[in-house]
């Protein structure tokens, strides 16, 4: 020997210790397992389908990046419901209705001063603008009921009586002349001086009309992305935001009953946005007043937030749920069960290897093989999203994908050891347990996606998804802000839907703690079944 290392009769060197021998045994079993998995058709079918799935999602992602983000009228005020040429946003500012052609900015507003109510005196005299609802007779000195409501040719009633309660002339504006100085009116607003008497059970209002003035209609594009998010991270005040388009501050200025501006977040300051920040300055919650900063520039904000939501949801559904649950179902269940069914287990167990060790090495082989695939896939996605994603520090994408990969590998390990233990506990029923457990895990994952936090606590998938949520917060600490912004300002990114801060933090809200907790639970999901499987396999008689 070159090292002067003496050999015994078997050619073993003295430097061969127990530990190096264990390494070699492990290496052999792991290598055998990998080769075996590599030789199964179903392995490559599953890998192929997983790859296709990720390709499909990537194709959608690339397509959405290529299209960019269209400006969206988040608050929906660029429409013109009544077709008077003024968009809703402009009508709101002037306090006019967008459902009345006659009412538009500068059209002259009717400001009521009194009314003939359902009960009480049925007549009133004066020089007013009248707003008549039901059948009424107007004895006039002058009026401006002009030819826009000519006599319809129907017979004109000469008086109003009890029958009138059902408006024999329909429910639209109508007037006719009974005789000179006496007119029948219904559902009409007009100016005139005289006495109005209203049929029983109906009402009329009277008041003044403001002067008309000319307001040019604005193009509807002015009301898309017109109220951006105004927030200054350096300003320590929690009250931020400015109502750029004035629909909070200026709406209803003419209605005395709503004299105060909107303060729906109840921080005492009307028409602002309350940004609640934690001790470290990160934004925890955003509470806007109604119609403040409600239509921000989408392309600025949507990009990042929908990019993140794509990564998160792909990580959760494609990686953790689909690959994480189904890959072990295909690959892990037969690790030892198939061997003992085929009788090939005899070759391996005739060698000086402990049965408990054997289980661990088998699982390690499966994990290296399946985990390698998962990590390769997440690397592929990382390259894709960090190249195509919006500008910024895209290296964080790589971290996030790595985190997703690790979580998925942990799920693979947990399911692998659980399915394997099921196969060992009951060679006869194990596969059926595994199938039902797989469906259970899938259902629990769906529940977790929809926000359940207690019911799915006894499932691997719940903790895996929780861990992804926590990793998101570690990698991108401002995700809470983006998610809050999406909710507060009507951004349609899916982020608020797919992601929420980790739930199991023992009340601290710390993502690191959440990761630690999930990790601990997942590792016990990995180790416990291994231990159970080992102790059962050790005592199993193999025929």
């Amino acid at each position: 020997m070159t090292f002067g290392d003496p050999e015994d009769s078997e050619g073993r060197r003295l430097s061969t210790t127990v530990w190096t021998a264990i390494d070699r045994k492990a290496g052999a079993v792991i290598e055998l397992t990998i080769k075996q998995l590599r030789n199964k058709t179903s392995t490559w079918t599953v890998f192929g389908i997983s790859f296709l799935l990720l390709t499909l999602l990537s194709a959608f992602y690339i397509d959405s990046v290529r299209q960019g983000f269209e400006s969206i009228d988040n608050d929906g005020d660029s429409v013109d419901n009544d077709g008077d040429g003024y968009p809703l946003g402009q009508e709101k500012k002037y306090g006019s209705s967008d459902f009345d052609r006659e009412e538009y900015p500068g059209s002259g507003l009717f400001i009521p001063s009194g009314e003939i109510y359902y009960s009480g005196p049925r007549t009133h005299t004066g020089n007013h603008t009248w707003d008549v609802e039901g059948p009424s007779i107007f004895t006039l000195n002058w009026d401006n009921i002009d030819s826009s409501f000519p006599d319809s040719g129907q017979q004109c009633p000469d008086q109003i009586d009890d029958e009138m309660i059902n408006t024999p002339y329909g429910w639209g504006p109508f007037s006719c002349t009974i005789e000179d100085g006496l007119k029948y009116v219904q559902f009409l607003r007009f100016e005139g001086e005289g006495t109005l008497s209203v049929a029983d059970g109906w009402l009329a209002t009277y008041g003044i009309t403001t002067e008309k003035f000319d307001v040019p209609p604005e193009p509807s594009q002015n009301y898309v992305d017109e109220d951006g998010i105004d927030w200054d991270p350096d300003n320590p005040s929690s009250s931020q935001g400015f109502d750029d388009d004035g629909d909070c501050t200026q709406s209803e200025y003419n209605e005395s009953s709503y004299g105060e501006n909107d303060d729906s977040n109840r921080n005492g300051i009307p028409c602002d946005v309350q940004w609640v920040r934690g001790a470290d300055g990160s934004v925890l919650q955003i509470r806007p007043d109604y119609l403040v900063d409600e239509d921000p520039v989408d392309s600025e904000l949507m990009g990042e937030s929908s990019h993140r939501s794509f990564i998160i949801i792909t990580g959760k559904i494609a990686f953790s749920m689909i690959i994480g649950i189904f890959l072990p179902l295909f690959l892990a269940l037969g690790l030892i069960r198939d061997e003992s069914e085929n009788g090939t287990l005899h070759y391996l167990l005739s060698k000086p290897i402990h049965r408990g060790e054997f289980i661990v090495y088998r699982l390690a082989g499966y994990l290296i093989f399946a985990g390698g695939f998962v990590l390769a896939m997440s690397l592929m996605m990382a390259v894709l999203t960090s190249t195509l994603g919006p500008d910024g520090n895209r290296f964080s994408d790589v971290n996030m994908w790595f985190g997703i990969g690790v979580v998925t590998v942990l799920s693979l390990a947990a399911y692998g050891s659980i399915f394997n233990a099921m196969g060992l506990i009951s060679p006869r029923y194990g596969v059926y347990f595994a199938l039902i457990f797989g469906v259970y895990e899938f259902a629990m994952a769906v529940m977790t996606l929809f926000g359940a936090e207690l019911v799915p606590i006894f499932s691997v998938s719940h903790w895996a998804l929780q861990m992804i949520d926590a990793i998101v917060l570690v990698v991108w600490s401002d995700t809470i802000m983006l998610s809050q912004m999406a909710t507060a300002f009507n951004l349609d990114t899916g982020l608020a839907f797919f992601w929420s801060p980790p739930k199991h933090t023992l009340g601290t809200g710390s993502p690191a703690l959440a990761i630690g907790l999930s990790l601990a639970v997942l590792i016990s999901f990995i180790l416990l079944p291994i231990l159970i499987g080992q102790s059962i396999f050790k005592r199993r008689e193999i025929d």
Partner: protein, 335 residues
Amino acid sequence: MTEVDGDMPLGETRIEAAYGSGDGDNTSTATVASAPKGQIFEQIYRPWNGTLGPRWVRNYAIYRHHVYGIVTGSGHRRYHPFVRLTLLVVILGSMTPILMLLLSSMFSGDASGFLNRMWGVNRYNLWGNILGYFPRNLCMWPLLTALVVGGLVSDDRKNGTSAIYFSRPISRLDYASMKWLSAASVLGAVILLTYIMYYSAAVVFKGEGWSYIADTIPIFMGGLTAGILLVFTYTSIGIALSSISTSRFTASVSFLGLVLGSKIVAWLIEIQFETTYIYLLSPYDCLAHVGQWLVGLPPNYNHPLAVSAVSLILMNLASLAVFASRVASLEVTRE
């Protein structure tokens, strides 16, 4: 003896030599063994002239063999005890609305009203009894199909038991259609019967009259049609997967992966990218869409109904084509 008696049926000596089928007293056993020189036996095959039972009788025997195993353990294709147990749990689970209806007929007032609103017969509930996602199409029907269909063809392929059929006067069409029908009737028994029971229970417990039945029967029939479609589609897809794989477990997992996975991925894409077209790849969603039309509900999907219907037809055709081609390649002997 080297010579053969005229009376003696051909081959009997050899049978006795080989299997000792005689009573042991005759000497023929020894004579063959002691034949000093080579000897050639004439081979004469006579066709069997008996009458074959009608085709449907033979087919019914196959069908029966696959279905009766649910109840009895011997003489029929054994259903694994666990599959039987799952069947029972699924049946009980899908009968919970009936229990609720019973409860609502026993109480009066608010409780009854609430139970009735939640579980009474209406379009949504009739649709939901077949096509609701949670728990029926998430946990129950796919699992049921996976367990029932899983080993139906793959076991034959793995064990070479298809030879038992094909060495008898049974065509591949008979074999395939009876396999399909047996799986479909097990699924149908669970899915459709509980649905019919639910509707009947609502009529009986509430003491409804003819006018009620006349009003609701079209909706009920729509739901029933949707249920038949569901049973048809799940059976076809499941049996196709079973015929591809060589292990019953792979077939079951593939079916679950296909049905549950395609749905959740399509949902992901809908939320993230605002298109519902990927739902066309999901058997469940195509069924749900067509089902919504059948019972007269507003659709949840943005794409046209016709596309879903076409996709559903294509899925079934593709599955049946795969199944047919795999059955055609099943060996008469062990693979």
